[in-house]
Each structure stands twice: as structure tokens, then as C-alpha cells.
Symmetry: C2
Subunit: 481 residues, 2 copies
């Protein structure tokens, strides 16, 4: 039935034909996002913003449970502050948007629209901190940042994006490192538990770390096209910024000390990941925990006696269980159109119910993840659907993990490596001797970079696949967004 | 006991001595806010941001119940868009911060850091809207805006502030007007129900309305010093923007029509209002619904056997009722210090409990609004405190309303008027014949402006207090923040 009505809904380019166009079709035709009048900027529409609210609420709750508090720092940062930490300014200066005029006057000093807020936050921490008794500062903010990007794609890379940035300072190196890794674990939960998006957890190479960090940790996910998406990062910043910004405190022995510092962020880019991990040629596929609408009920022959009564009754039963239900009772669309529409929007479960179903005391339950339709009894239907939603959430995670694992290959030499990233289009798992120069060469040759040095190491041999030297680690190379 | 320890907490300048300094002391010494490195910008610290979260969550819930959805539009707006609606650009152009450079390049067109988003939102509405079937668009966003202000004060008037801006379009004038007034009612609830801050609800005069509006509606509150604070506005924009931005749709008859338009906003300025309505010379006084901590329990002689057990037990009982409780068990501060600290922070209820109280099966309950302390039984203490919090919320509203009503005077002539706004420092309630020129003259002479034309009119006579002509309305004049 769905197929017969395909002409009525917007066409989506199959991902096999053109993955980039498929992505664009999915995000624009499902009205998640639109292009703003300024190149590289996006407008997040209600359905897209509802996804961001899910991520924000889930993460914010975990931040607060971990003792973090929200704050707000100004969006404009004087150039002189941005320049204080050398690596940092080198990393960000080329991407900055500058405010040079305010209220009809030319400003004496240019103001950066924040690309990230370490510099202004450290300026204030320096003012506030005096004693070890105040530590740690565990602050976070939800805001937007601007980075003037040359090539952009909605959600994945835009000149403005929404994110959160956590900024903490601590008495000891150990405590700061613990915080860095604890927040990385929060991000893993956001990705895997909420978004059903499996990630590889580990450390960035020296070349790929944050501008000004001692070490950057990451969660990396595989997209449908085999490319990697850096989905969240947590930085151990050591004392780089606390020294550059003269943040000191009187420690337990009464000596003046510099605290240790972390920062960590996730952004609207996660929504791009959600789509490229789960969605298909019919449109979005949303895991139930992310879905703004979890169940749509489509009445068939709604004008026939009794149908709407049953529909309303089962909708109420589901709502009582906390399930977000929408009854699609629009009278200007056919059931077929509604089926396609609900599939394009990625609603996890569709319940179809008409007079014949009611006679049999049943409804049809379509699950978006597997595209299967089964009759279910009207008795205890809310509980059946509740279980179905849980099953879909788990199944989507498992499916994505299987996909990733199947497209992750061991490379023992450069030929195998090139075959993986060019032809097989997957992750290349290799033994690696740390060497920034070799890393740069491989990037130039293949476009692939070290995405992550996984915490879960495997022993694939003793020598580096590239240099033949004694290897330091197993690492994952891939092309990336 | 509190007085003996006063030397340990930060001193607050009495409001009678210097109201502006009192305000500054309260907001900075309670660590709600700090001054940013750029003049006119503020940093909202955790305790201040927690207040904003209360406002945001309460309002967002009501917006959503009213069918509104959140979105996000870019923070930068091309100059050409800002220029499209003549009154609007005239109103905002002098306050705009301009981005002129992006990623090391000079931009071809200046980009405004949004002072408000009508122009960019209307640009997108024009693209999205085709049919009456899509209407209404009921969208809102929580974001920050920049307006280059000459004189600033944290929360009340800052060059950057946090707010929400709702933007809706509708088929009919009636529906848009209904929306405008419905959102004004939401704002009244935010002020009165959540913040215990009484407001006068009504319309702005022609001179005071939003740049580009047909009509602006407002809620106005009286501060401790008798000045008014415009605390939220809802604008009926008619078709000004929908015509300027060429937003059209095919109506029910198949004709091309321009929809009707509203916008409405509340901001972090409300926090300034909260303070100037309720707080006193000891510091903040927070209504229970706004308080990040509703009850603090201070153990006396905490090392004595049994005290902490009782403290923990009653804390759990209160938490079970949804009360936010903090046990102040810091061992490096005296009870006296803790008393003053909790009073400065405005915690609505303080429970003091020591060995002697436990012997009597009681605790002492201090209420911040009335500065009174009473013994309450440990039996059913959670319910007692719950009722106490409700009583405080109501009492704070009533007190503030009484204060406002007592400082609102009828002026029959200019002498009385000057006496009210200059000497008595209150609201002047007058009969008024609409006349922008006379309004400007009064402003020049006295600094007072028409704050609101209240919906609840009273008949104070037939003639305008100023011109002697037949009056149109009763209006409220006052000096304002």
C-alpha cells in the first residue's frame, strides 16, 4: 500500500546513487533544517529543534547529576583575550567572525564572536578563584558559536552551531583527568543510550587534538557511507590556560598554585550523525528515545462507526504509559499518504486500525526500523507497544554496531589500507607508531586521518603498518566529516 | 544571633542610602552576576543562571501547552534584511553590533548581530508558507541578542541579554490579536504566579510601542524605588512585516493573502525585577517557586549525638515532598555565619535544629520574607514546611502588590503629577488625552513616561490632567528602568 502512494510524498534520492544528495534530501524534506540567507548558516526548524531538545535535556540532566551548574558568558571576546594562549589562537584565529562596529562607532578593539569560550571563561575564573576551598568549578553553558567555515553542510559543519561547552578547574591533575573521562562517558551515553549510535571511545592523536589541549578524548561513530563522525570531545587542558590567564589559588599548604583545567562539548552535529547512522531511502529512522513522536495511529475508514472511539481509547492508554502518540486524523490525506509521511518522518511505530481490525480485536503495528507489519491484539496494546519501542531502540543500536563492525577492517600494509578507505569505504584498524609526519603523509595520500586511539586496544601485531617500526598502539584511520 | 556574626558576611549598602549601589551589591555579592571584560556585558553566574532556568522552564512549558514549538534562527542578519521594514530599521539601527570580517576576509555585506529576529524569521516564513493549511506558524526561540547600549546595568539593561522571542503568523487579524493577548497572559503568569511580582497589564502608547508594531502590550511592575520595569512585551505586528517581506499564502478562497503577525519576548531583565521587587538590605529574598534552594537546614552543635541523624531524616522527608533542601553541614563556618549567608542568598525557609530542640521534638523555622522565627514540631515537619513555602509565595505577592498600590497616586494636575514622580516616587495614575507631543514634553520635564494604558480602566474624571481636553483613557506614568 505504501508504494502505491509514493507519488504523493517528496522523493528522496537513494543513498546508493548519491549519498550527499540523500542526506540533503532527508534533512530538508523532513523539515529538520533549512538554509539561511547567509552562506554556511542554517535555520533549525521545529522538527529538527525537537531532536536537539532531546539531546540537550538528556545531557543536561547527566551534567547536573555530576554536580555541574549552568552559566552564561558573553558571546563577544576581545581579540587580546583570544591571543593569550598561543596554540589556541593559532587554531581558531582563521575561523573567527569579527565585530568591528558597535552602535554606529568603530570599536577600538575587534571583538570575536566566540568560536569557543575558554579565553573569556578563564579570564573570569582568574578573578573569582582565591582558595582551594572553592574548587572545583564545574560550569557548563548551552550556547551558539561561530566558526567561519569554507565548506559547510547543515548540522555536520556550519558557520554557526548550537552546542554546550563545559569548563571545569580542579585542584589536582588526577581530578581533572577523572572529570575529562567522566564527561566523555556522559557523551558515550548520549550517543549509545539515547541516540542508539555506537561509538568508539578513545584518545585523539597529537595532530588531531584541540588547540591548546594536553590531550583530547573523543567518541567516533561510523556513518552509512563508512566515514567517521567525531561526535563529542573532552579535553584535558592541563595548566596551559590557567597559566596563560594567571588563574591561581591558595592551596591546602598555603602556596599559590595553578589549577588543572578541562573543557568538553557536543553540538548540533550529533543530529547529522543520527541521520547518517540510522536513516534510509524512505527518510528518517528515529530511535524511540529520540523521536518527538513515538507512535502514530492512522485510522482506516475513520468515518465508519466505532473506529475513532477505539483509536482514542488506545491513544489514551499509550499516553498513560508516557508514550508520545499522535493520531493522524487529517481528513485531506489518504491513509497511504499518511503511511509514507510517517515513514519519512521516522516515527518508530505506526498503528493502523480500521473496522476489520476492530472486528478481529486487533491492530496492525508497523515498525520503522525493520519495515515489518504485524497484527497485535487490542488487549494490552499499550504494553505491547511499550515493549516494541524498547525493542526498536535496542535493535537500532545493534544494527548500527553490526554495520560498523562489518565495515571495520584490519590493514597490515598500505595496499590493504588504501583498499579499505578507498574501495571498501570503511574504518581501517592498524598498528601504529606515533609520528605526526607519517600521519600527514597518509592524510595527503588517502584523505584518511587517525580518528581515535581506542581505549579498548587489540593486539594486531608488533609493528606499525606504515613505518614498520615497533608500534605504540592500535588506532582507527578513516575519512571523516 | 544573626547580628553578632554580621562581620563575617559581605556588607550590602542599605537601599535607603543608595538604591543603585544596593542593587549592585545584592547582585554581585550573592554571585548572581559579574561584569564581563567588555563594557556593558555581563557574566551570569550559577546562582543567577538557576533563576533564569526557573523562568525559562516555566514559560517554555506554557508556550508548548499553547501549541508553540522551538526553533533556532541564525544570530547574524544581513544588513539588507534589517533594512526592509522602515520603522524597524529606524528603531534598531543605532544599537546594532556589526560583523564586518569573517575568517580573515572583509565581508561584502555587513552582518548585524541580531538585536531581535523579525527580519530573518520573516525571510524564512516567506519561503515556507504557501497555503492556509499550514497556518498558524507558532514558533519561539531561546537565544541571546545584542543591542549596543550606552548606559548599562546587569540584568536590567545590558548590551547582550538572554531572552525568548516568539514569532507567529496567522490567517486572520482576530486570531493574531488573540495570540498577542494570550502570550501577554502567559507573561503575567510568569511574573505573578512564578515570581510573585505583581504587574499592571495593558497597552503601550504610540510613542512607546515596538519599532514596526501596530500595537504593543506590556506587563509593568513597580520596583522598590517606585520606578517601573517593563517586564515583558507582546506585539501585534499586523501586516507590516508580512508585506515588507512578501509573505503570502493561498487563502481558503484561493486568493493570495498576507498573514497577520505577532512577536513577544521576556528576558533576563526579569531577574533584575525580581530583585528590585522583593529583596532587602540583608540581600536576596526569593519566592519559593523561584528559589534554587527552598529550604536550608542548619544543624546546631552538629557533633552532638543524634543531631545529624534528625537533620538527615527531616531533609529526606522534605525531599520526598519535592522540596529542594540543602543541609549546610560546612564545618568551617559558625551557625551565625550560615544564618547570614542563607539570608543573603534569599533562601525562603531556614530550619535550625540542635540538641535542645530535639529534646523538645521541635525545630526553629525562620522565614526570609518576614524575618520571623517560630518553633515547629518535628512531627509532620515536611508538611508544615510545604505549607509555609506556599504561604511565603502568596505573602510575597501580596506584600509587593500592597507596596505598589500604596505608591500609586492619582494626579489631577501637573503639580500633583510632579510631586508623585519626583517626591513621592511612585506611579501617577491620570486621565489622558492621547497626544505624542504632550507625552514628549512631560518626559522632558519630569523623566516620566506612559508605562501602560491598563486594561483595567478606572474612571477618574472626564478631562486629561495635562491638556484639559476630553480624556481617552486612564494611563500610568512613571520613571522607568
Amino acid at each position: 500500500m505504501a508504494k502505491n502512494n509514493k507519488q504523493f510524498v517528496e522523493e528522496i534520492t537513494p543513498m546508493e546513487d548519491d549519498f550527499a544528495q540523500w542526506y540533503t534530501d532527508v534533512i530538508t524534506k523532513t523539515e529538520l533544517v533549512d538554509y539561511a540567507p547567509i552562506k554556511g548558516f542554517m535555520v533549525i526548524r521545529p522538527y529538527g529543534f525537537a531532536l536537539w531538545e532531546k539531546i540537550r535535556d538528556y545531557a543536561d540532566d547527566l551534567f547536573k547529576k555530576g554536580g555541574h551548574k549552568n552559566v552564561y558568558f558573553p558571546m563577544l571576546i576581545p581579540e587580546s583575550l583570544l591571543n593569550k594562549e598561543a596554540d589556541h589562537v593559532e587554531g581558531f584565529a582563521p575561523e573567527v567572525a569579527w565585530v568591528t562596529q558597535g552602535g554606529n562607532k568603530v570599536l577600538e578593539e575587534r571583538l570575536a564572536v566566540r568560536p569557543t569560550s575558554e579565553t573569556i571563561i578563564c579570564t573570569m575564573y582568574s578573578k573569582w578563584l582565591t582558595s582551594y576551598r572553592q574548587l572545583p568549578f564545574l560550569y557548563n553553558q548551552w550556547n551558539s558559536v561561530v566558526r567561519w567555515e569554507k565548506t559547510t553542510r547543515p548540522f555536520l559543519r556550519t558557520s554557526e552551531f548550537l552546542w554546550q561547552e563545559g569548563h571545569t578547574i580542579h585542584e589536582t591533575k588526577e581530578e581533572a583527568m577523572k572529570e575529562t573521562l567522566q564527561q566523555l562517558e556522559v557523551y558515550r551515553l548520549v550517543a549509545e543510550d539515547l541516540m542508539a549510535m555506537p561509538v568508539i571511545v578513545g584518545q585523539k592523536s597529537e595532530s588531531e587534538k584541540f588547540a591548546g589541549a594536553d590531550a583530547t578524548y573523543t567518541i567516533e561513530a561510523m556513518m552509512h557511507d563508512g566515514k567517521a563522525l567525531q561526535s563529542g570531545t573532552s579535553h584535558f587542558l592541563g595548566q596551559h590556560f590557567t597559566k596563560a590567564f594567571d588563574i591561581t589559588y591558595s592551596d591546602r599548604e598555603g602556596n599559590l598554585a595553578h589549577p588543572y583545567h578541562t573543557s568538553w562539548g557536543i553540538s548540533t552535529r550529533l543530529i547529522g550523525g543520527l541521520i547518517m547512522v540510522h536513516s534510509d531511502n524512505r527518510g528518517l529512522v528515529l530511535p524511540p528515545k529520540m523521536a518527538p513522536i513515538q507512535v502514530v495511529i492512522v485510522p482506516i475508514a475513520a468515518n465508519k462507526g466505532g473506529v475513532m472511539e477505539v483509536v482514542d481509547k488506545i491513544a489514551e492508554e499509550m499516553k498513560a504509559k508516557g508514550i508520545v502518540v499522535d493520531v493522524d486524523d487529517r481528513d485531506n490525506y489518504s491513509p497511504g499518504y499518511k503511511f509514507n509521511d510517517s515513514e519519512m518522518k521516522g516515527i518508530p511505530v505506526r498503528i493502523e486500525i480500521g473496522p476489520k481490525d476492530i472486528e478481529k480485536n486487533q491492530a496492525l503495528a508497523f515498525r520503522r526500523d525493520e519495515l515489518t507489519k504485524d497484527a497485535i491484539s487490542l488487549d494490552g496494546i499499550a504494553e505491547t507497544v511499550e515493549n516494541l519501542l524498547e525493542d526498536i531502540q535496542t535493535n537500532m543500536f545493534n544494527k548500527a554496531k553490526k554495520y560498523r563492525d562489518e565495515r571495520t577492517y584490519v590493514a597490515k600494509n598500505m595496499d590493504e589500507f588504501v583498499d579499505i578507505v578507498e574501495n571498501k569505504r570503511g574504518f581501517a584498524k592498524v598498528m601504529w607508531k606515533n609520528n605526526a609526519e607519517n600521519e600527514a603523509k597518509i592524510k595527503e595520500l588517502t584523505g584518511a586521518t587517525i580518528r581515535v586511539i581506542p581505549f579498548e586496544q587489540e593486539d594486531l601485531g608488533d609493528t606499525c603498518f606504515y613505518s614498520g617500526e615497533k608500534a605504540d598502539n592500535m588506532v582507527i584511520f578513516a575519512k571523516a566529516y
